[in-house]
Amino acid sequence: MSFIELDDFRQAAMVAKNELIKGMRGKKFLVSLAVILLVFVLITVIPYATGGTWSGKAASDILSSYLSYISMISLLIVALLSSVAIVSEFEERTALILFTRPIKRTTIFLGKLMACFAITALIMLVYYLLVTAMLAIFAGTIPWELIISLCFCLLYVFAASGIAFIISAFLKKSSVATIITLLGLLMVIPIVSTMIGGDTWYMLDTAGNTIITCVPEYVDSYNAIIYEWVEYMQKAIDYMNLSGDAEIMQVAAIMQGMVDSYMFGMMEPIATPDLLREAGILIAWGVSAYFIAWLKFIRREF
């Protein structure tokens, strides 16, 4: 018995095809599409509702507006679609048909991975196409950062799906797997990053933020807001220190701590990302996560 054969790839493609049909015919796919469209419509309409317009805006501004929430949305879609990929086979007892066929578990895993990535990528692609249309209409240009952002979005989805696969491989209930994936990706990992503090370039969420931080104008405008806040705060602290009142100076000292730590790391200025390094980090997260999920999956018994 060889480890992997040509027929295994053919079978993996069959599993992926079936998973794609499953994904496309499922409600979660429609919900994901609806979420993407809703976000796009809201971002498009809100400026008009508040008396503004997209006309005359720079491409980088339009891009920044549309990409601000994309990492969060992609995590939501990953949680919806990838977190059930493995657990549902056991929970819904479909494994009794699939796993008893002459097919390796590794092949099944590979097929599921390909399908989950393809479906999530397709949804993200729809969003980026809509953003491209907006840029073409209102800015008359498509900045190259859009392509970089799309690449990072796909890498982020790949890595986050790996985390979803781990959770899916260990748990027994699809609903629990979805909730835990959602909490893990949207809360636990960002909290850990914040607690670590500093430049957490090696963390999944930080690397994932490259989706938006790859737009230099976004980084500049974001940092400008923070530096402006620091400046105002510093002026206030200096003024308070001049009062000579011990209690006021005590409050000023606390405020100085907040300013120096950029609100305990919550308002850190963003560094311009090293694209190659962040891409490597996302790939490393993804490969490690899929490896752990695969190890559990091939050993999991019915």
């Binding site: 018995m1 069959m14 079936n18 007892r93 699939l98 008893t100 002459p102 097919i103």
Partner: protein
């Protein structure tokens, strides 16, 4: 491995911590037989079948399907095997024809064969009219017929069934049994192993029985040998009135009667296994003029089953 045994289990063990589910099981399934795997709950039947179908891994031992050890090379071992383990579920968004196509594609069948076999199988399991409806809308019985159908894709020479009628209503059970009977009668090269708790079902379908308890083999023989192995037949005689002690005594004194005892309003009589003794009893009871209006044999398979399980406890 013997060519007469498409399924051969050698010193198979499965342990869950301190609990041993399968304890050095050795079993050879005869070619072209329909073997019923019997045993009480927790005997190790399902665990054994799940090891054979690669749903769980054995702690040690070997399990050969068509000469290939499933514990070492499950993909090769399962190549010519169809399975229905418990009541599997299907992808509800697929139709039976799509399910068959998926299974056919997985096992490497070409498009033409998939199409031809799908129609033949749907006919066999009487689901042709439902071939394009989504499985999510099917009843449990219908889904189980499709489960049986998908197991027949690519014309396997081994079929492994784990309680295939479990959870079905009487009609669903009868439908599955009918399909299995037809399979047994129509195939020249098909070995079937089926675990079941329903002894009448086993008696109806199987020609051999393998009994296991505590994860070891107790008996493996033809079903006829199984039901006569204890050499005792139990007959219930129903009387118009409550049987008297005198009547029971008279019956007990017949030279071929092993024992007779009151069982509620009836008399239970134990005789030898020969038809001659059965005929003599019938005549003698008629001559006694004791108001006996019915004679019925108790379920021998059940009795033997219970005896063997009791002895192995």
């Amino acid at each position: 491995m013997s060519t007469d045994s498409p399924i051969e289990i050698v010193d198979l063990r499965k342990e869950y911590g301190s609990f041993t589910a399968v304890n050095g099981l050795n079993l050879s399934i005869k070619k072209n037989s329909f073997t019923g795997l019997l045993g009480p709950n927790g005997a190790g039947k399902s665990t054994t079948l799940k090891i054979l179908t690669h749903l769980i891994k054995a702690t040690s031992g070997e399990a050969y399907l068509n000469g290939v050890d499933v514990t070492k090379d499950p993909k090769a071992a399962l190549t010519n095997v169809g399975t229905v383990i418990e009541t599997p579920e299907f992808y509800p968004y697929l139709t039976p024809r799509e399910t068959m196509r998926y299974v056919g594609e997985l096992i490497g069948m070409n498009k033409e064969s998939i199409k031809t076999e799908t129609e033949e199988i749907l006919e066999k399991v009487k689901m042709t009219d439902w071939g394009d409806k989504r499985l999510g809308t099917f009843s449990k019985g219908m889904r189980q017929r499709i489960a049986l159908g998908q197991a027949l894709m690519n014309d396997p020479n081994i079929i492994i069934l784990d309680e295939p009628t479990s959870g079905l209503d009487p009609r669903g059970m009868a439908e599955i049994r009918e399909v299995l009977k037809n399979l047994r009668n129509d195939s020249n090269d098909l070995t079937i192993v089926m675990s079941s708790h329903i002894l009448t079902e086993v008696q109806d379908l199987c020609d051999r029985i393998a009994m296991i308890n505590h994860g070891t083999l107790l008996m493996d023989d033809d079903i006829s040998a199984f039901v006569t192995s204890h050499g005792v037949r139990s007959v219930i005689a129903k009387t118009a009135e409550i049987p008297t002690a005198e009547l029971i005594d008279r019956i007990g004194q017949l030279d071929y009667v092993r024992s007779a005892e009151r069982l509620g309003n009836d008399v239970q009589i134990f005789i030898g296994d020969s038809n001659e003794e059965r005929n003599r009893l019938f005549n003698d009871l008629a001559q006694m003029n004791a108001g006996i209006y019915s004679l019925a044999e108790t379920d021998k398979l059940e009795e033997t089953y219970l005896d063997i399980i009791k002895e192995s406890a």
